[in-house]
Amino acid sequence: MLEIKNIHKAYGKNEVLKGVDLKIDKGDVVVILGPSGSGKTTLLRCINFLEKPDEGHANFGESDVNLKTISKKQIHEIRQRVAFVFQNYNLFNNKTALENVTLGLITGRKIHKAKAEEIGKKALDNVGLSEKYDFYPSQLSGGQQQRVGIARAVALNPDIILFDEPTSALDPELVGEVLTVMKNIAKEGTTMLVVTHEMSFAQDVANRVIFMDGGVVVEEGEPNQIFTRPKEERTKQFLKRILPEFTYTI
């Protein structure tokens, strides 16, 4: 459903993406792992054009698009089908939780307010926030804010949802509630592309893991294969530091 070919992105002299290919099918839950600076967040942000790629081609299921010459109209269309969940939630601070979720529907897609609120309330119920429709972000905990952020993305009914380290800014106790929501969404068949350091999510929910380093894809495959039998040396080095070596049961 989404195919990216040869994406390049540089900031001045610093080349962050050095030719990345990516293919995502409907229903895939793909996790991108890698050290900081590997380009994983930049890759994600290029997909919905929060960053403008220098070079590359993308195919969103219809025709091939040259990312260098893409038009504003095309970007706008792509954003209708790709939703984003941010590391620091980026909720609209001057809007309530419900308004956050419905703003894109009412103003962006011209959906009737009543229908938008119906969709919004259902989305908020699904993330466990039925009591918080009229609360402002300043009145919500980090975990609650991120769940609103996820509800906001889900309500748009996108083809694919991009998650940029969704739990990295949360207290450890709140990480669990957000991961649970993400697991439920994955179970419902949502196509997800997730940059994260939460290995449990990658091992339990993802059907594909991509390891990036230095602006390129080093290795990709099924979670079991990557975590237990990594092929590349770089992958092994990275996993050694991230995964616990042994688990004892006494």
Partner: protein, 234 residues
Amino acid sequence: MLNYKFLVDTFFVALSGAPTAILITVVSLLIAIPLGFLLALVRINEVKFFNRFAQVYVSFIRGTPMIVQIFIIYNSVPLILATIFTKLNIKINIYDVNPIWYAFIVFSLNTIAILTEVFRSALGTVSKGQLEAAQSVGLTNVQAYTKIIIPQALVVALPNICTAITNLIKGTSLCYAMSLKEITLRAKVAANVGYNYVEAYIDIFLVYLIICIIVEYGFKLYENRLRAYKGVSA
């Protein structure tokens, strides 16, 4: 001591100049708010050429005394217009023009410069993530600004806008140098009759103070309303 009858009478004389002062303020604001906002956007987005122009413009206005700006405009604009009018054969006597028009020019130019900086700094307090989130849910940039960014920037800008307005109101007192019949000039003229300057100055002070306190109170109410979404400070 003070001549109390004069004190009270002159208060109302001074007050009679208030409509003029308020008119200059309102006209200047109507012109300066949209233009100031536009220039603020130009500065933030570093639009080629206009960015430099905006920087120089603000520096110049901020760096020169308002009273001198008034002198220059009041003395040079009539000459320029007179030459233009004679060349185009327009039969308007430039010296019949009410000085309030020059006041409109000077104070608009001034307030544009001030508001550019006010809006530029206020917009800067809204994090880039708000715009990115708005774009991600499919809003156009105009929608993002009107619904999300400007409302949040406005809360921050309000105290500075209040300062700019009270400075504007007080600044109109300098228009007495153009023989414009506003608060200061009217009271001074009344004082000239019996040499009751101290009483006149007290009354002038009071009139400006009352107008500015009313403006401040209005802003306080508005600010409290806009701040509702920020919740109770931790």
